[in-house]
Amino acid sequence: MVVKRIKVTNEYGLHARPSTLLVKKATQYRSVLKIRKDEIEVNGKSLLGVLTLAAAYGTVLELIADGIDEKELIEEIERLFSSGFDEAKK
């Protein structure tokens, strides 16, 4: 299991487009991905889950990956976050 803390740095947060990108990426891996915000934990492969986190700019999230390709999965998701999902960073 890999756990990673990460901050949302794109201006509008994890709204529809970045969430879609995130879920799309996550579903390409076999490992399970959970995302935690405070007490809430959602399935990182479910758009509904990710959207209802309502992770605005500046939110700190915890990514928890578990499975045979967990490391690659986390790296890939981190890359998405650090690129700001190809949109304006604040």
Binding site: A16, T20, L48, T52, A54
Partner: protein, 547 residues
Amino acid sequence: MKLSGIAVAPGIAIGKSICIDYKFNIINYQISKEGITQELKRLEEIIIDTIHELESFSREFPGNKNQRDIIETHKMILEDPEMINNIKKILQEELVTLEKALDLNLQEIKKQFSEIEDEYFSARIIDYQDVTSRLLKKLYKTDSEHENWDGSILVAQEITPSQVLEAFKNHVAGLISIHGSRKSHSAILARSLQIPMVMGLNDDECDICPEEVIVDGSEGLVIISPTEKEKKKYQQDLAKINVRNQELALLADKDSVTKDGEKVPLYCNIEIPEEITALERMNIEGIGLFRTEFLYLDRQKLPDEEEQFQIYKKVAERLSPKPVIIRTIDLGGDKIAKSLKETEMNPNLGLRGIRLSFKYLDLFKVQLRAILRAGVHGKIKIMFPMVSNVAEINTAKQIISECQKELRSEGTKYQNEIEIGTMIEIPSAALRAKEIAAECDFLSIGTNDLVQYTLAVDRNNDLVAEYYNEADPSVLYLIQKVCQSAHEAGIKVAVCGEMASQEKFTAILLGLGVDELSTSPANYNEIKKKILQLDTKECYKYAVSLL
């Protein structure tokens, strides 16, 4: 049965109602345990089908990035394991039809989203609504295109602007939207297209379809299965309206000239670009006021230059060679920055119109650049709202020059010779119209605000509404003064406020020296008819007697 709602677009329609959304038709009965397998299979098929449909749609119509993103999101919703499991769970536990299960699932998601405080996120419920209605539509195969809408009354939970346009093309008699408000885009369009409409019945359970229905858009009434007596009364009223409309329609080919041969150019005001459809049958002389607030309302992100350019270009091209006067944004600050929402004690005297544009200069420049670029594709003019003195006009002109310079150095095509005008709606601007006129190519009087500021009356305040009087001598004096100042400077004056759309004021305005009128699309022919009956010398005498 009589229901009352909001009167949105006047007129009367009598016809058979057709429900155009799934909401009223949810097939709901208990299924047996054995039936679950069948419903699960339908679920699987409908999802695969819909995903294929989305994929082929995006192949055929690549659209812009925004549209592609939405399709991606919708695909992701359909592939969401959590949501699919939830629908399956509902099917198994509640033993309902797939249709009902989809609806229940949407209700649950709605509840989840309603708990999110950040509006930016909670608004995404719309994607789930869209996907659900797509699935249900497929299940029902009620693709509305196949129905014959001619002469019917369309009913929906919430009628969209594109449905209003569709209704117009298919000769729909009337519209009923269970939810909605007078200010919605659908309402604006229905008024422009003159389709009687009632909104806001706010009764989700009401049984409207398919029945014979009367829509009274003037009173905001809907009568379901009317009595013979009711029907007869409304048929008579409708016949009168039809006779009048036919008469007015004949005016399309006539020029708006007074009895004594004075030409009075007659333009239209529009609030949303879709309204140009309504103008096509009227042979108008141009758009005297294209409001741009729609670009900034009811949305999450501010419109960028490209989006605005495309919209202005489309309208300019459709009207070309006739002029289109684009008015830069006239909003209160709360619409642009959430942080300003509660800080203004008196928003009507606050950060509005051009003052807001000066404060948010980046925003202003985006709009000006888009207008200048679109100016290449038709005859566009720029007009500034809420100007109080000539210094503001000079500043605005300077900003236009800066934008032109930027566009030039970028090598982007733009209009270098663009006419500039000012809205006269603040008394100080009316009193010093001479100076403003010297810097402008035209003036346009916004009577709603001019009356409000001259008389210090908010007409939306019931306690003082009786003091709101467009024909108050002080208002008429200001209008006359503006006309004189403009004429001395050799430019023309239009009126684009509501006074221009009311025939009882046409004679007064012409008498005061107003050269041109810009009306709402629904009143265009009425005002033209009035102009044809007037004599300018008598108008002058009449106006002077009121001063």
